[in-house]
């Protein structure tokens, strides 16, 4: 809620909100320019999910039995969510990088909105996630994946995957601001993302796991989102799954947005 004194305006709530949006947009643009300037960044963030598609489609796929479904149709919703989850680790790394280069200090000394740095970062990472998920969709079509439920559920599915990525970006932001070191944040990113993505319904049916693992796999955000995406792409009842996924996304945001903003404000 900051307004330049020179303009002698009284800061009102609405004006404050306007600046939050303007500042976040300015920083989103700044973050996205990076991908235009260094296209290899984008290339490498797409190669990994492509490898996973090929790995599960052609190497492991033959050994995984999912009753009643083509494995590739089962797999791709999992890949979309995994792509978004892995992409979200970049949020923390980007913030840790800005911290170590003194950019966060500069931003914090400017009369800009306090939450814009985090908002700009999570928005730009969500835009990148959208791009990579769409690309995976193309790859999926090449290896035999098809939507079976029509266009509206398909679009809803993509948005849900990206929304899930946004929620995970805020967790990643909190981790990056807490750890502050780029390499450690990078390492930590995989530590927390791995159990969520692999002990989930993303690649194999949860029923094939031991009971204790099922208890975890059935009650975590990745499974909820993957199940919703599967319902949206394969057809069948969707409302319950989608609501559950949205509840997870909302819950994560509700906890980690304030946590991250608080962490950002109190950086020493």
């Amino acid at each position: 809620m900051s307004v330049r004194t020179a303009t002698a305006t009284v800061s009102t709530r609405r004006e404050g909100l306007r600046w939050v949006v303007a500042d976040a947009m300015a920083l989103t643009r700044r973050n996205l320019i990076r991908y235009v300037r260094i296209p290899t960044l984008l290339v490498f963030s797409t190669i990994q999910p492509v490898m996973f598609v090929l790995l599960f489609r052609y190497v492991f796929g033959g050994a995984i039995q999912v009753p009643g479904v083509n494995y590739v149709d089962f797999l791709m919703p999992g890949i979309f969510v995994q792509t978004a989850a892995f992409g979200s680790t970049q949020t923390g790394i980007g913030l840790a990088e800005d911290l170590s280069k003194g950019l966060i200090d500069r931003f914090r000394s400017l009369p800009m909105s306090r939450s814009a740095v985090l908002a700009g970062r999570t928005i730009s990472d969500s835009v990148r996630n959208l791009f990579v998920v769409l690309l995976m969709l193309g790859v999926g079509y090449l290896v035999g994946f098809r939507f079976h439920a029509g266009i509206v559920p398909a679009v809803t599915g993509v948005l849900l995957a990206v929304g899930f990525g946004t929620a995970f970006s805020w967790i990643s932001a909190w981790i990056g601001l807490s750890i502050r070191d780029v390499e450690s944040t990078q390492a930590a990113g995989f530590l927390w993302i791995f159990p969520f993505t692999f002990a989930s319904s993303a690649f194999v049916p949860v029923e094939s796991m031991p009971g204790w693992l099922q208890a975890f796999a059935n009650n975590q955000p990745v499974t909820a989102t993957v199940n919703a995406l599967r319902a949206l792409t394969l057809g069948g009842p969707t409302a319950g799954h989608v609501l559950e996924a949205m509840a997870w996304i909302g819950g994560i945001l509700l906890v980690f947005v304030p946590l991250s903003v608080r962490r950002y404000r109190s950086i020493a």
């Binding site: 307004v3 800061s11 990076r34 280069k101 500069r106 914090r108 009369p111 020493a268």
Partner: protein, 336 residues
């Protein structure tokens, strides 16, 4: 120019765990002046700057910049300051122009004004040629200039520079000094933290010497030099094997506490008003000990001598240790 100081602090305190980084600092900086916070690494200069620029909350005392309290009025305060830190805080993947433009937008200037000011800064800082190049291709000196430029985009009333030349080569340093001097001619109030005494000497109207979180002296460079009292005897020992012996002679003169730097082989002793007898005694003693010295002379004190005289840091260190460590710790790692 108003009577009200541009920067005021009273009993400012900040601790990190048990370390009292800033321990009751009182400052008053006149508008339009250049004020230097001089202190070795870890003295509390950077912490003071971080409190004044709202990056850190003080634990005690109060501080105001342009009448805005650092805690209660932080938003307004930020609109009237500019900060350039120890690092060149610019985005490497943006061009110079884009960096300045972004900062302008974040100062909430409209698009045209942000662009105009970016252009102005690029021109003034000799970066117009490189304006549309990615910052990654800039030299260290160019990055610092861009960083300094970014801190001016908001046309701040008060500019804070935290160790602006740390890590720069001598030529870039001189260039940056020239820029800073030109800047303050325009009436900007500047608070500068530095561990380089020559920097404070060249740039600052007034200097506060900080050690272990407290101001131990304040005044103009000349006033501070006056605190050493009189002259300094200095000589250089080319043969490093005899350096320790030469130091022992310096100590045996029983004048001021000698400053010894094995790296350069330089020994300096504050001699007060007894310059002529000191020089004769030193020559005699060194000669009878068979130590060859060069560049033996009496000179006016520098801020280096001031610092030593005020803090007494090295004076307390045992001779052998001082010789072994050289100047370590005076210009070591940066304060975090």
């Amino acid at each position: 120019m108003s009577e009200r100081p541009a920067i005021v602090t009273e009993g400012l305190k900040k601790a990190f765990g048990r370390v009292r980084a800033v321990d009751g600092v009182d400052l008053s900086v006149a508008p339009g002046s250049v004020f230097g916070l001089l202190g070795p690494n870890g003295a509390g200069t950077t912490t003071t700057v971080r409190i004044l620029t709202t990056l850190l909350r003080p634990d005690g005392g109060r501080a105001e910049v342009m009448g805005h309290d650092v805690v209660r009025d932080a938003d307004r305060l930020r609109a009237s300051i500019g900060l350039a830190g120890q690092y060149a805080a610019v985005d490497e993947t943006l061009t110079g122009r884009e960096n300045l433009d972004l900062v302008g937008r974040l100062y909430h200037l409209d698009r045209a004004e942000a662009r105009r000011r970016a252009e102005e800064v690029l021109e003034r800082f000799g970066l117009a040629q490189a304006a549309d190049r990615i910052v990654k291709t800039y030299s260290g000196g160019m990055r610092r200039r861009l960083d300094l430029g970014a801190s001016l985009v908001g046309r701040p009333d008060v500019l804070f520079l935290d160790e602006p030349t740390t890590g720069l080569d001598p030529r870039s340093r001189l260039g940056l000094w020239e820029l800073i001097r030109e800047l303050v001619r325009g009436g900007t109030t500047l608070l500068l933290s530095t561990q380089y005494l020559d920097e404070a000497d060249v740039l600052c109207d007034r200097i506060a010497v900080i050690d272990v979180g407290k101001i131990i002296a304040e005044g103009t460079a000349d006033q501070l030099k006056g605190r050493v009292g009189g002259e300094v005897l200095e000589f250089r020992v080319p043969d490093r094997d005899r350096f320790a012996d030469a130091c022992a002679v310096a100590v045996a003169l029983e004048l001021g506490a000698p400053n010894m730097d094995k790296e350069t082989g330089k020994v300096s002793v504050p001699v007060g008003e007894r310059g002529s007898t000191a020089i004769i005694r030193a020559v005699r003693e060194l000669d009878s000990a068979g130590i060859h010295v060069e560049d033996l002379a009496l000179r006016r004190p520098t801020l280096d001598d001031v610092f030593l005289a005020l803090t007494g840091h090295e004076a307390e260190v045992a001779l052998e240790e001082a010789v072994a460590n050289g100047k370590r710790g005076r210009r070591g790692r940066r304060e975090r």
